[in-house]
Every structure is written in structure tokens, then in C-alpha cells.
């Protein structure tokens, strides 16, 4: 079970969190024309990298904040965690 440092609450076990997928996905702006391909990429297509992955986790049984976690999908090592508004270079 992962041990995730919530930027608001400190270290908490994984069972307090819900996984939220790739944190680098950007929703197309509202009221803007998007092609079928762009929209499908946003809704359905995700990379599944082996290695570093910036992802969202929701501290559902805690402060209810969505946070960003930079994790190695292969080793489960967590390099760092961030608040949702933090800019992260990957």
C-alpha cells in the first residue's frame, strides 16, 4: 500500500485516496471548436508510461483536495507531491 504525502495533511496511506489518472491532460476550453480527434484524445486516450508519471489523486477520506503525485509506475516510488495549482515540470 502506497504512502502518499498529501501537501495539506502529510503522509497518509493509499486507502484514503482515490486515483484520478494523468494529471497532464488539459480539458479543451468551453465554447471552443474542437475536432473529433482532439476530443477523443481528451476523453479516451491516455499514455500508460512505464516510469515517471504525473498523476492526480483525490484525498477523498481526508481533506478532499485533488493533488498531483509524481510517481514511478514501475517501482511505485513517489518522487514528490504537489498542490493542484502547482506547476510541475516533467
Amino acid at each position: 500500500m502506497l504512502y502518499i504525502k498529501c501537501p495539506y495533511c502529510g503522509y497518509r496511506s493509499q486507502n484514503e485516496f482515490a486515483y484520478g489518472g494523468d494529471a497532464t491532460i488539459k480539458r479543451p476550453e468551453l465554447n471552443k471548436e474542437v475536432t473529433d480527434k482532439e476530443w477523443d484524445n481528451f476523453v479516451y486516450l491516455r499514455k500508460s508510461p512505464r516510469g515517471k508519471h504525473l498523476e492526480l489523486w483525490h484525498h477523498v477520506s481526508g481533506c478532499r483536495q485533488w493533488i498531483k503525485v509524481l510517481r514511478d509506475t514501475n517501482t511505485h516510488e513517489i518522487f514528490n507531491t504537489y498542490k493542484s495549482e502547482d506547476k510541475v515540470e516533467t
Binding site: 500500500m1 465554447n31 511505485h76 495549482e85
Partner: protein, 998 residues
């Protein structure tokens, strides 16, 4: 009764306390501190089971966790446990155990015929034998395999015992209380670290209990006892025996099962039987020791063949002799300790050492004690069926390939030692790679992956002096990093005998003309010949060989067999052992009971139960409850002999005719506040929200980004920047997460806050033509007329001194209101409604009537919004705004979502107007067509329409829009029903929606 194999003077057991027990129906006694195994051996019992495949007689092989044979069915306090290792089960008064895998008895086992038919049971026999004909699988092969497979039987009764879970955090977790565990724990604890020291066995000390060493001026055992006593007295240390750390998971989370009362006749009322510990450790010390491995020879599975270390443990710990005429067969020095121990107890062993001319202190000692030692000698084969009676021995050539001068000598046990295998399971589970060390012919952990270190013989270090020095040092260093303290202890002086090198010899060749079975894996009956066959048949990967032959599987996970198996594969394949590799070590290290895994999360405790504030009223008034997610809701209120059908029909009819009240507290409620709330709702819902006035409610539908309907509900504008959102009971939590995601991640610029208020409000829906009259009665000071409180209106009002919110919204399709009060006032509100409703023939109604009312109105709910339907499918396309963008809108342009014959909600009535249609039935054109029949749609919800007095269902049907009036068939293969039906509008009652506005 005397125990002829019990020693008077040695042993750590309490000989003042006799304990009686039964094995296979026969009574015996042992002493406090015995295991079932030691007590049986003391009584001369060696035949304890039958082997898995050939049903050959099985005795004891080890003295602990490594035991592959002595698996028994245990009976305790009216319960039974399968798969119990007799070598680990401590004796208690009244213990009963039986042999497994034998019928009718362990002495006369019919399955032993397999032993003579063994040419039909080669490696992979399951795969070869049970393939054809296919029709035999269900009735013949599968039942046979199920009956033949496994040891013992699980109880089918409810387990009365309690099990607990515990979460713990520490600086150092130390797995194993042998020399390295004790030393590192002591050094770290003295340096201020919070330490948990876990020992699987009842006694602490590991190898110190049986080895002939001294530490400082004490014996190894005394040193261990003193350290443990001191650790137990320290506040920063938890010391646990009977506790197995069986799994090493991510981020230094380890799981330990503590056996609290397994060694007692029964658990007292409040004590759990076992406790599962989830431990998050900053550092882990793996001091799990090593297990002796056997040398492979003919008939090496005969009862009486034991590990030399086990023979020594039986003598030194339990005061029990495994035999009185022992042969000791070894390739290394450690078995000499066993020989010397026999000699000290006036038993004369014969030592066969495969080495030609080894020189060491302990060999000298053995010789000086007059022990007979034959160098360059091996055991060729054990003789005897249910117990060793003699053995064939021979001289072996220097190249270890030829046997010279085979002779037979009498003996009653063969103590075998093929050197030591480090127990690297935990290190491997943590993700560390392993490396093969030629010096010890075994794998040890390579570089640590997590924050862990392996010490002592688990790391391939077999001298006490080096083990203690390293362990004291590491205990100090690791604790210093955490505590920043600098209290360093000196490692004590050690006196031990130096050992000479072991012989790289692990398998005795077969003599000419003999085909003795030479077993590698004793639990699964895997012999050398099986591995040879698997390799001949083309299996190469060690993982494949394992699965094909079952080498290293089952409860002992190959603790004594894996390395010899690898040696064999490496020899045949002509590869070095590390190139063959080993199979993966997976948790659990030893079997863990399901009870311990489940803990207290059983029955009602497996999930929380949520109850509305009016729950006790429902109980008192004969409500029959139903689970709605984690909520308990009244399904109907039983009167006299009514069943579900009669009661719900009565309740629904009363709503249509008079007035009913339903507890709707469970609906999800979310408070939405902030100056951008209107804009946010406008993005979340499919319809327009910017112009909703204060004091008005609106029905809304929200989508996922893929265009599928996520949830629906009404949201009310309480004040300029304050909304009260409702969700369905089931989706409440998901909707809140969904809103938080958009507010925090996608549109953080919006000034909006959301919080769940589900539990803050109690809700009652008052529905029916007389509901306004009732409402007026409970709110005498408030004008609730159609003008003052129109459909979708909202008022705050005073309910006999309690603040209330009135929403004029309707799920039933009748004139209806929802009254909310703060939860603490819920029961007060409910009783006032009931009391004042008597005059109007008010009846409470449950979820079943609620469903009936909404189904015949064609209102959609979870069964239609099932995560597969888009707004069009459920008739909600009228709520799609063309003017604005919202979550999921772009997906609605997808081609498939705009096909002209797209599925859509319809009503379904059976042609006979009598037969109810099972939910989940398929709608088909021709029920007699060849399978698979083309499915046109499915029944999503069914009820008995109280308005029309006949069955009515909702369905999602292909091209539903153009199917009204068609005749189809509803097929339910599960219920074996085919019902001719007519497709009608989904709005079966009040299609124009006039009642809600009346």
C-alpha cells in the same frame, strides 16, 4: 504410560505439566511447551499422513515452518482448521487432530495404489489425463480433481472466533528474533528507536536455542533470554512472539499475523483468535534466518528421514528423540552438532559425510567422543515402508558419480543435512533482486529496493561472530539516522566453533538397476524423474517447470525443495544455477487464515450502515428495510399478513388517491456557494441555469465527458450565491468528487465551494392530491397555495417552531412537496406529518411504492441511468441546451449517438395484462429463432401500475421512438419466461404532467 522417546534431562518444555490430546482418535499425552509433532514423536508416532499424489506414508521432516509433510486437520472448541502444520501447532489440553489425504485411515490408505500406478501419474498428469473427452469435465474429471486435491477440508460453519486488525508505525521493524534480529533490535532500541521485534515461533532466540555457543560469559540461549527480557521492559519496543511477518508490500508496509489463542484450548470471550498487523516501518531488518535443505537419495520420503537440524531441535527444545539408532547423512559441519547431541544423550549415531577428508574443530570433537564417522559415504536409499528400518549406504567416488560397495545398515532414522538456504522471501517480496553465492550454493538478497536490510544467515552469513558484529553495527547506524542519537553498544565476545567448507553435493546417484524414487518436493510428490521428464518434454523456464510439475507449490512453497530442483535443472540443462533463476517469491510466506484477513469486517460490519433520523419510527411501524447503497431504507410498511406486493400496491394507491409520506433523507445533498455558482451549475448541467431566480428549483441532468448521463436531480437557488443541489442516493459521493475535480483542477478560477450536506438535512416527501391540504395544516402560518408556492417553488417556513425548507418538487408525478429540516429535528417533523395526516388518510410509503409511482410516470432513475445511456436514450434530450457548452456536450455529436434508430426509453405492457415482466428481460422479435436471438432492448424496471391495475415496465429499446404500438416478446431465460408484450409510451400516467402543477 511412559514416553520411550522422551529424554529426562534435556528440553525447554515444562515436564511438570502433562497435556492430553488425541490424534486420529487415539489418546496420548505430552507436556506444556510441546508441539503436536514433538508430542507425537515422543510417543513413537511417526506416520502422520499420506503424500499428495502417490499416497505414500508421511512422517515428520522438519521442526517448524519448513515442514512439508505433517499437515493435519485440527479440531478446537467445536471448530476445525485444515492445513495446520503439526510442527508449529502447540499442544493444548484436549487438542484433537487427524491425518489428511488418506482414506479410510492413515495406516491403510486405498489411494496408496497410486504408488504402484505411478507410471500413469507422471509430471503434468492433470494436463495430460483430464483433457478428453470434453464432456467428461464437469461430471467426472472436475469432481475427481476437487476430491483429490488439497489437504484437509475447510469448515463450512460460521467461524465464531474473533479476528482483529491493527495499524502500527515504527522506526525499525525486525523480522525474526535469532541472533541478528536480537542484536539489531537491542542496538537500535538502546539508541532510542521505536522497534517492533516479531518472532514466528513461541520461543525467542532462533538458532541460539539449539546451538552450542557462548556470548559474553553466557550460553547463547541465556543471552537471548536476557536481551528479550530487557527489550520487553522498554517503552519504545514491542516484542511479539507467535507473529509471522508474511508480506512485504510497497512503501515499507509489512503485514504480520499474530496468533493469539491458537495455542490455547479456546479463546476467551473478548480475546481475538488472531490479529493482523499492518505495519509501516521506516526501516526493516530482515533476520529471517535460514532453513536446512536435504540431500536427495532413494526413498528419501520414508517416515524417519528428517532434517538434521530438526532432530537437534527435537532433542534440545523438546527433549525428544526422533530415533534411537540414527544415521546422520551430511555434506557439511552443522550436522555434527546433531551427532554430538545424540551422543550426549547416550545414543550412538553413525555419521556419513560425503566429503573425502574434511578438517574442523567440530569433526575432531565428534571423533574424540567416539562417534563413528564414515567419510566419502552416502545414503543410497532408505528401506522400510511406514518407518525407516535400515538404509543402503555406499562409498562414493571422488567425482560423486559412482557408488562403491553398497551395504545395508540398520537404523530407525536418517538425519540429513545438505547445507543451509537463506530465507529471502521478504527481501524478494520487497522487490530486491537476488544473487547466487557459489560459496553457499544459494541465493541471497542483492541490493535493497526499499528501506530494508537483510542480516545474519538470511544474508548468507553463517558465523555468529560476524552476524552479531554486523547486526549491532547496523542496528546502531539505522537507528541513528532516524533518532539522531548516538548511543553505541559494543558487540559481545563470541565463542563458537569454526566450520569447514560444505560439499557441493546434493543428489545421490541411482545404483545400477535400481529406480528408487528420489523426491525433491515432498509436499507435492515431485521426484527427480518428474523434472527430467518435464525438461525432456520441452519445458525450459523454471516458472513453467514449477507449474507443470508442481515443484515448490502448495503450503510449504518449496522451502526445502526449491534449491535442489534448481540444481537438477541446471545440471540437465548444463547451465549455472543463477542462469536458471528461481521462481518468484510471493506473499504470504505461510498460509494466512481468511478470518485474519477479513478481521472484524464481517456481516453487518463489512460496511457502514447509514440510517435516517426517522429510522426508529420506521422500525416501530413495521417497516421492512432494504439496502440502498450503505443506507437502510423502508421498502414497505407491513400491515397484517401483507407481502411486498400487496403492501406496496396499497401504499402507491394511497398516494394516487389521498396522500403519502416517504423518507427521502438518503438523497444526496450538496451545498453550493460562491459568486460563480450559477456559472458553475450552467457548465455542470445540460440545461440553462443562469436565469434561475432565487426561490426556485430546477431539474437538471449532468453528463460525464463521454456524453453518458451521470446523475440527475433538482437544484434550488436558496439565495443569490447559494444553491442546494440534490443527487440520487447512489451517486451522491461520485457527484461530489466530480464537482470538486472541476472546481480544483479544470476551472480553479471559479469562485465556488461545494460541501456535502446530506447528513445535515432530514427529508420527507409528501405526495398525493391531498398533499397541499396536509402541508397547510403543518405550516398554518405559511401560504402554500398554488400561487404562493407553485410547481418548482421553494419556501422557508416554520414547522411548529422548527425551521423548515419546502420544495415543491415531485418524483411520484403527483402534486408533491419535499420538506427538509435539520437532521436532529427529523423525527419531530415526521411525527408532526403523521399526526396531522391522519385526517387525510395519510400513509407512509416505502421505496417499492416510490418505484411504482415513478415507473408508471416514466421518470427515469438508476436503472435507466445505468452508465450506458445518453440523454436521448432516456428521453432527457429536451434538457440539452443548444446555446451553451457544458460537460460532455461535445461527445453528443458522436455519430453513434445520432443514429436515427438509436435506443430510447419506452413503456411495455404484457398483452394479457396479467403477467409481470422480470427486470432484465430481453425484448425480441421472434422468441423461437435460433440462438443467439437478436436482442432489441431490455426491461430496465417493472411495477404493477396502480393507475391501470396491470403490470407495466420501462425498457430501453432500439429505435424506441418508432416502436410504439409494436408487439414484441419479453424473454427471461433466467426465469424461463417468454411474455408477449406491447410497446407503449413511457409516460403511462398523466402524460401531460398536469398533476404536479395542479
Amino acid at each position: 504410560m511412559t514416553q520411550s522417546f522422551r529424554l529426562d534431562k534435556t528440553g525447554l518444555i515444562n515436564k511438570n505439566k502433562k497435556i492430553s490430546f488425541k490424534f486420529n482418535g487415539k489418546s496420548y499425552f505430552g507436556y506444556e511447551g510441546d508441539t503436536l509433532a514433538s508430542a507425537l514423536i515422543a510417543n513413537g508416532v511417526h506416520l502422520v499422513g499420506r503424500s499428495f499424489k502417490y499416497h505414500r506414508p508421511r512422517g515428520f521432516f522438519g521442526a517448524g515452518v519448513d515442514e512439508p509433510y505433517a499437515i493435519v486437520q485440527l479440531y478446537r472448541n467445536g471448530e476445525t482448521d485444515p492445513n495446520v502444520r503439526a510442527t508449529e501447532q502447540e499442544l493444548f489440553e484436549g487438542l484433537e487432530a487427524k491425518s489428511v489425504n488418506c482414506w479410510p485411515s492413515v495406516n491403510f490408505d486405498i489411494g496408496a495404489i497410486n504408488n504402484f500406478l505411478n507410471i500413469f501419474l507422471p509430471a503434468g498428469f492433470y494436463y495430460k489425463t483430464f483433457m478428453w473427452p470434453r464432456s467428461f469435465w464437469y461430471k467426472i474429471y472436475e469432481p475427481f480433481i476437487r476430491k483429490a486435491a488439497g489437504f484437509g477440508a475447510a469448515s463450512t460453519k460460521h467461524d465464531k472466533e474473533k479476528y482483529e486488525h491493527k495499524y502500527e508505525y515504527c522506526d525499525l521493524l525486525i523480522a525474526g528474533s535469532g541472533p541478528s534480529g536480537l542484536a539489531s533490535a537491542y542496538a537500535a532500541a538502546k539508541n532510542g528507536a521505536r522497534v517492533i521485534l516479531a518472532e514466528d515461533k513461541p520461543r525467542y532466540g532462533g538458532s541460539l536455542l539449539t546451538s552450542d555457543v557462548s556470548i559474553g560469559n553466557q550460553s547463547g540461549k541465556d543471552w537471548a533470554d536476557n536481551i528479550i527480557a530487557e527489550l520487553k521492559g522498554m517503552e519504545n519496543v514491542i516484542v511479539k512472539n507467535r507473529s509471522q511477518i508474511f508480506g512485504y508490500y510497497d512503501h515499507n508496509m509489512l503485514v504480520m499475523s499474530e496468533r493469539i489463542t491458537d495455542h490455547l484450548p479456546k479463546s476467551d470471550k473478548h480475546t481475538p483468535k488472531q490479529r493482523m498487523w499492518y505495519i509501516r516501518a521506516k526501516q526493516v531488518v530482515i533476520s529471517s534466518g535460514s532453513i536446512e535443505r536435504p540431500i536427495v537419495f532413494g526413498n528419501n520420503d520414508t517416515p524417519g528421514v528428517v532434517l538434521a537440524s530438526a532432530a537437534k531441535e527435537y532433542m534440545k527444545v523438546y527433549g525428544v528423540l526422533v530415533g534411537k539408532k540414527p544415521v546422520i547423512f551430511t555434506n557439511n559441519d552443522s550436522a555434527y552438532e546433531t551427532a554430538i547431541e545424540f551422543k550426549k544423550n547416550n545414543i550412538n549415531p553413525v555419521v556419513l559425510d560425503s566429503r573425502k577428508n574434511p578438517q574442523s574443530e567440530i569433526i575432531k570433537e565428534a571423533l574424540s567422543l567416539g562417534i563413528e564417522v564414515k567419510f566419502s559415504h552416502v545414503v543410497v536409499a532408505a528401506k522400510g515402508y511406514k518407518k525407516v528400518k535400515s538404509c543402503d549406504i555406499a562409498m562414493i567416488s571422488d567425482n560423486k558419480e559412482n557408488l562403491i560397495d553398497i551395504t545395508n545398515i540398520k537404523c530407525d532414522c536418517i538425519c540429513v543435512s545438505g547445507f543451509w538456504t537463506p530465507t529471502i522471501h521478504l527481501a524478494s517480496q520487497s522487490g530486491s533482486k537476488t544473487k547466487f553465492v557459489e560459496d553457499i550454493d544459494a541465493f541471497i538478497p542483492d541490493k535493497s529496493k526499499q528501506k530494508e536490510i537483510t542480516l545474519g544467515s538470511a544474508n548468507g552469513v553463517f558465523t555468529l561472530d560476524e552476524t552479531l558484529k554486523t547486526s549491532f553495527q547496523k542496528g546502531y547506524e539505522l537507528s541513528k539516522e532516524i533518532t539522531n542519537q548516538d548511543n553505541k553498544l559494543q558487540s559481545p565476545q563470541v565463542s563458537e566453533k569454526q566450520q569447514s567448507k560444505h560439499d557441493k553435493f546434493w543428489c545421490v546417484p541411482l545404483p545400477n538397476g535400481k529406480n528408487y524414487k528420489r523426491f525433491l518436493d515432498f509436499q507435492n510428490d515431485v521426484a527427480v524423474s518428474d523434472i527430467e521428464l518435464a525438461l525432456r518434454e520441452g519445458y525450459r523456464s523454471i516458472e513453467h517447470v514449477k507449474r507443470y510439475t508442481t515443484l515448490g507449490m502448495a503450503t510449504d512453497q518449496g522451502r526445502t525443495s526449491n534449491l535442489n530442483g534448481l540444481q537438477l535443472v541446471s545440471k540437465i540443462e548444463n547451465k549455472v544455477v543463477p542462469a536458471v533463476g528461481h521462481t518468484t517469491f510471493r506473499p504470504p510466506y505461510t498460509p494466512v487464515t481468511i478470518g485474519a484477513i477479513v478481521g472484524r469486517e464481517i456481516g453487518k460490519h463489512s460496511k457502514p450502515t447509514r440510517k435516517s433520523p426517522m429510522h426508529s419510527w420506521h422500525e416501530k411501524n413495521n417497516a421492512v428495510f432494504v439496502d440502498a447503497g450503505v443506507w437502510l431504507r423502508p421498502r414497505y410498511y407491513k400491515k397484517d399478513n401483507e407481502g411486498l406486493f400487496e403492501a406496496s400496491k396499497r401504499e402507491a394507491e394511497n398516494v394516487r388517491k389521498n396522500v403519502g409520506v416517504c423518507d427521502v433523507t438518503t438523497l444526496g445533498k450538496i451545498d453550493v456557494k460562491g459568486k460563480d455558482s450559477a456559472e458553475f451549475l450552467n457548465r455542470v448541467y445540460t440545461n440553462a441555469w443562469l436565469k434561475l431566480p432565487v426561490g426556485k428549483a430546477r431539474y437538471g441532468v449532468m453528463l460525464r465527458e463521454d456524453g453518458v448521463v451521470m446523475d440527475d436531480g433538482t437544484t434550488t437557488r436558496i439565495s443569490e450565491n447559494h444553491y442546494h443541489m440534490t443527487t440520487t442516493t447512489a451517486q451522491a459521493a461520485n457527484v461530489l468528487s466530480h464537482l470538486e475535480y472541476y472546481l480544483q483542477i479544470v476551472w480553479p478560477e471559479l469562485d465556488v465551494n461545494v460541501v456535502s450536506s446530506t447528513e445535515q438535512w432530514a427529508g420527507a416527501a409528501i405526495a398525493g392530491p391531498k398533499s397541499r391540504d396536509l402541508l397547510q395544516k403543518i405550516f398554518p402560518d405559511t401560504d402554500v397555495s398554488n400561487d404562493a408556492l407553485p410547481f418548482m417553488g421553494f419556501l422557508e417556513a416554520n414547522l411548529f417552531g422548527v425551521k423548515a425548507r419546502i420544495f415543491r418538487i415531485s418524483f411520484s408525478g403527483e402534486l408533491a412537496y419535499e420538506v427538509n429540516v435539520e437532521s436532529d429535528n427529523g423525527n419531530f417533523m415526521w411525527e408532526k406529518i403523521i399526526e396531522n395526516g391522519k385526517h387525510f388518510n395519510l400513509q407512509p410509503y416505502g421505496t417499492e411504492a416510490l418505484s411504482t409511482l415513478r415507473i408508471e410516470m416514466g421518470h427515469v432513475a438508476g436503472s435507466e441511468l445505468d452508465g450506458r445511456t445518453i440523454p436521448y436514450d432516456t428521453g432527457l434530450d429536451g434538457l440539452i441546451s443548444k446555446k451553451k457548452d457544458f460537460i460532455g456536450k461535445r461527445s453528443l455529436l458522436k455519430k453513434a449517438f445520432n443514429e436515427t434508430d438509436r435506443q430510447r426509453i419506452v413503456g411495455v405492457v404484457p398483452l394479457d395484462k396479467k403477467t409481470s415482466i422480470p427486470e432484465g428481460s430481453h425484448l425480441v422479435n421472434d422468441p423461437k429463432a435460433k440462438m443467439p436471438i437478436l436482442k432489441l432492448g431490455h426491461i430496465s424496471a417493472s411495477c404493477w401500475s396502480v393507475e391501470h391495475n396491470n403490470p407495466f415496465s420501462l425498457a430501453i429499446l432500439k429505435d424506441g421512438k418508432n416502436m410504439i404500438g409494436s408487439k414484441l416478446y419479453a424473454m427471461s431465460p433466467l426465469k424461463n419466461k417468454t411474455i408477449p408484450v406491447e410497446i407503449v409510451s413511457s409516460h403511462y400516467v398523466d402524460p401531460k404532467g398536469e398533476r404536479v402543477r395542479s
